[in-house]
Symmetry: C2
Subunit: 235 residues, 2 copies
């Protein structure tokens, strides 16, 4: 006799236009955390974070809003699921392969790029214990291992990662800022040095000024960390 067929895979996609489900537990499970995560990502890319409401999420999944609460404790819990999903998309592959500086560079750019489209998660991430976010933990493990292999001073590894992460999060916000954020408007005359500096940068016609600032800061951090390490880093 063949083994019993595995439990039917939970629907991870949107509801097809079926007839209305009647009350009571359905024969096939409709929701699970992976499906909720996927639907949330869809919704965000379609309508932005303002469109991410529990009601909209439920609708996408073809379910009543209250059904979500059988699988997540709160909306913040949904944000945590998103965060962990995104953490897995951050590129840590260079650690242990490329030299330390190159690996940090690749990680930080990737980290910023992933989260710049998801800045509303940052206040949640930055404060939430990592224990419930296994993919996030995996990212930290890879980065930590890379620092250690490179001979980075043990007692400074976490502090350095925290500092880099702070920079990455702040820079992620900067990506979303409007181009004219530094336009002083009618107050321009009162801040001549600032206005001049803004104009000076604008004159360079960089396609993405935010990338220039990120590169500048990141290279400074990398150089600064390297210099702090007395005998330099291996790798």
């Amino acid at each position: 006799m063949p083994a019993p067929s595995p439990a039917p895979e939970p629907a991870s996609g949107a509801a097809v236009g079926k007839s209305r489900r009647r009350a009571g537990r359905p024969m096939a499970r409709v929701l699970d955390q992976a499906g909720i995560t996927t639907a949330a990502l869809q919704l965000i890319s379609a309508k932005g974070y303002n469109g991410l409401t529990m009601a909209a999420l439920a609708k996408t999944l073809g379910v009543a809003p209250s059904a979500l609460y059988n699988h997540v404790a709160s909306k913040d819990d949904v944000l945590l699921l998103l965060e962990d999903h995104l953490a897995a998309m951050v590129d840590v592959s260079a650690f242990g392969v490329e030299p330390w500086a190159a690996a940090v560079r690749q990680w930080a750019w990737s980290y910023r790029d992933v989260f710049s489209a998801h800045t509303p998660l940052i206040p949640v991430i930055a404060v939430l214990p990592v224990a419930n976010a296994p993919k996030t933990l995996a990212m930290y493990e890879a980065v930590t291992a890379g620092f250690r292999e490179a001979g980075f001073p043990e007692e400074k590894i976490i502090s350095a990662i925290v500092a880099l992460e702070a920079f990455v999060f702040g820079a992620a916000y900067d990506v979303t800022a409007p181009e004219d954020i530094f336009d002083a408007g009618n107050l321009a005359e009162q801040v001549p040095n600032f206005t001049a500096a803004v104009d000076r940068l604008a004159a360079e016609r960089h396609p993405r000024p935010t990338d220039v600032a990120f590169s500048l800061g990141l290279e400074a951090l990398i150089a600064g960390f390297s210099a702090m390490t007395e005998y330099g880093l291996r790798g």
Copy 2:
């Protein structure tokens, strides 16, 4: 004949327990932006940002919620008022007095300290044009002037400030994180390098680990920026 007494100063404090105001424009103006800002700060320090609602703000000021909208366009507008108020508390006094590195150090620490108690403002600040925030502009002007006087390469000044600010904002979040944020819990065995690094840092028994990370990153940025400047900085 004496000049007519100046317009009665708008109440900037909370409402005293007076009898209920009747509908219609009162003889003495009750609200203004300064009073709203002050009341918002009070409210935040008493109840935190969760307690900062338009209704609660109105109550503090002894006013109906809708009255607020004669003075601010939205709640985000209130947050902008707060931001500008706080920007004036950031210490830029060292620019043009102390050497460049010391001035940056003092500015960045002060900036972080001021906003670490107000992280909910960060998503708003980071994205809002500076034109409506005169005190914020004044801060930028002082910082820019300091960089210029120190001989910092003109075309890099804004990028460097943006990078420092990104770091400061990210670090402000870090200040608010719980102590056990890096506790991997029951997943600890699966992330040995990370766990070891966390333990290694904990073994140092720093009173404020967040300050260690901030200092590390800030000194790296300062050193990195200095090194990038071919002939060093003046001052």
